[in-house]
């Protein structure tokens, strides 16, 4: 199978965009799936001194194959430390971690995340897994990167259940809680990249992915989404990055669907 390194899927676009959000030397707590690939990609390209850790307690791992979960045995040999949740999430709660990755069933206008229920808590239409470490990461990592499937029901004006607070109702509301973490810094969706206004803490569209229109994004968002003055197309992935992502980060296609 030959890969064309100029064509890419939206999953790949998201992963590359997420990897760009990490600065060299940062401590990053990584979850399964695209965040894991984004951290790997950053480490192999722009952020060689990034240290990746997992809530399970694995720290600075050098896995010989793509881990399929945050407790994959492949994470252990060669890692700098194998501890437990109190090592992984303890570092998070202490405010030591620069970047955390989040996702969920819903995200709202002010970056609040729902991984609990659709509908009423006591009689839910759909029940999701719950917080796990999400709330901990969202409360205490210096900033978080959210990755979302962009659909209208997943971007409501207000989440059905606030599992992991972002900026609550916006403005300075988050600050009164004394969190160590600053909240979400970016939302990377299947359609574009969204950020938060520094004053109102309302989510706005910063860029749209190649092949996606602003209108399409507005239609898939559950409130009247504001658009940045300088809104533009998301920078396309460099072919070399795509090669590394496909051939080195996920060669067996655990997370990236192969055509």
């Amino acid at each position: 199978m030959t890969h064309k390194y100029t064509d890419f899927t939206l999953q790949e676009m998201m992963t590359v965009a997420a990897s760009r959000e990490i600065k060299d030397g940062e401590l990053v707590i990584v979850g399964t799936g695209l965040p894991l690939l984004a951290a790997f990609l950053a480490q192999k390209t722009s952020a060689p001194n990034l240290i990746a850790l997992y809530e399970s307690g694995a720290y600075d791992c050098k896995p010989l194959a793509t881990p399929s979960s945050v407790v994959d045995s492949v994470l252990v040999p060669g890692s700098a430390m194998a501890g437990g949740l109190m090592e992984g999430l303890g570092s998070v709660h202490a405010g030591d971690i620069d970047v955390g990755f989040l996702g969920g069933a819903q995200i709202d206008k002010h970056g609040n995340l729902n991984t609990h229920v659709i509908g009423d808590y006591h009689a839910p239409k759909v029940r999701f897994p719950g917080s796990g470490g999400s709330n901990d990461i969202g409360s205490s990592c210096k900033r978080t990167i959210v990755m979302m499937l962009h659909q209208k029901q997943r971007f409501p004006e207000k989440v059905d259940f606030n599992t992991t607070p972002g900026f609550f109702n916006g403005g300075k509301e988050r600050e009164k809680y004394g969190f160590l973490g600053g909240g979400p810094s970016v939302v990377i969706s299947t359609l574009g990249i969204l950020r938060f206004d520094a004053e109102t803490r309302e989510m706005y569209l910063a860029s749209y992915h190649p092949g996606v229109t602003v209108l399409q994004i507005k239609e898939n968002t559950g409130w009247d989404l504001k658009i940045a003055g300088d809104v533009h197309e998301t920078e396309r992935p460099d072919p070399e990055l795509l090669r590394i992502l496909r051939d080195e980060c996920d060669p067996t296609g655990i997370f990236l669907k192969k055509e």
Partner: protein, 314 residues
């Protein structure tokens, strides 16, 4: 040699898992004691409150089998790989019956276990603040968590979460001796705090070693024998989960369960085949080999990446 605590899983579950007990299910997405989980289902234990920092599909089997009335946890799912549909049916449709859930975060659960293990009554944390986790509670009522202004004057509130001391816990380790000293390596997950928090623990292990073997590397001991009530020899006892240095995760088998559990009928068929239809772990493994072939079974086995040795001399 002190008195041996070695027995079969059947004996251990019959003796130490009481109907209505609060049971800690050890392991974090790995090294789950499936041998005890399946035995609890076969013995049709009822009215359990199960607790864990996070749960995977193993608890789904306990819920589907009607063993669980209450859950005290932060998560019930299989990461990006699928949903726990018995859990969803219980919550969404009350099948086989409604369950109550006391929901925390992963760190909050660990803090509660740590508090339980150390005799600390409660722990103030920053997680959960402002979230809807504080809006809802189940059987614990207002004892699920308390908001309190920092008495040391930071000006902020913290969430006080209460210590958790389950009646009994079970987990799976690479090796233990007959007195119950348990050794574990690789990712430790919820251990040691979840097991240390329990009043008593029953353990399944890949290998039973001598007390002298334990003493050859005492820093690997994750739980001292005094906490342990029963030691069960169960090679491949965590399958389809993985156990560092022993065998890898069997993701196709887990996917098979997740897929079949999408309907009640599919779930029943799977369970009849793999749990109710086998007497014990040995039969389960034999069935696995008969069904999927010896090669697939052997492919799970871990390659050898031996640790270095250290000097314990004085």
């Amino acid at each position: 040699m002190k008195v041996s605590k070695v027995m079969t899983a059947k004996e251990a579950v019959a003796k130490f898992i009481d109907d209505g007990a609060m049971v800690m299910v050890g392991g974090f997405f790995h090294s789950i004691s499936y041998v005890f989980t399946h035995e609890i289902i076969r013995q049709q234990k009822k009215g359990l409150t199960v607790c864990a920092a996070s749960f995977n599909e193993h608890v789904d089997q306990l819920i589907g089998a009607g063993c669980v009335d209450r859950m005290d946890t932060s998560y019930v799912g299989v990461e990006v790989f699928g949903a726990c549909d018995c859990f969803r049916r219980a919550v969404e449709k009350g099948l086989p019956h409604k369950i109550e859930i006391e929901e925390y975060t992963n760190f909050a659960m660990m803090a509660r276990f740590m508090a339980g293990a150390l005799g600390i009554p409660y722990i103030p944390i920053n997680s959960m603040k402002g979230s809807d986790l504080l809006k809802y509670n189940a059987w614990m009522g207002d004892k699920k968590a308390k908001l309190m202004l920092d008495p040391f004057g930071s000006g902020f509130e913290h969430v006080l979460v209460p210590a958790l001391q389950p009646d009994i816990g079970y987990f799976h380790v690479q090796r233990a001796d007959e007195e119950g000293n348990c050794q574990m390596w690789g990712i430790l997950g919820d251990a040691p705090w979840s097991v240390r928090a329990c009043k008593k623990v029953i353990v399944s292990c890949e290998e039973i070693v001598t007390r002298e073997d334990i003493g050859r590397d005492p820093n690997r001991t994750i739980l001292p024998g005094y906490k342990v009530a029963a030691v069960v020899h169960a090679p491949f006892g965590a399958h389809p989960k993985h156990c560092q240095g022993c065998y890898d995760v069997d993701r196709p088998f887990i996917s098979k369960y997740i897929k079949e559990a999408k309907t009640v009928e599919g779930w029943k068929a799977f369970m009849d085949e793999w749990v109710y239809g086998v007497a014990d772990r040995a039969e389960y493994l034999k069935k696995y080999v008969d069904t999927f072939g010896m090669q697939q079974f052997l492919d799970l086995k871990a390659r050898d990446i031996s640790s270095s040795s250290v000097n314990y001399g004085f």
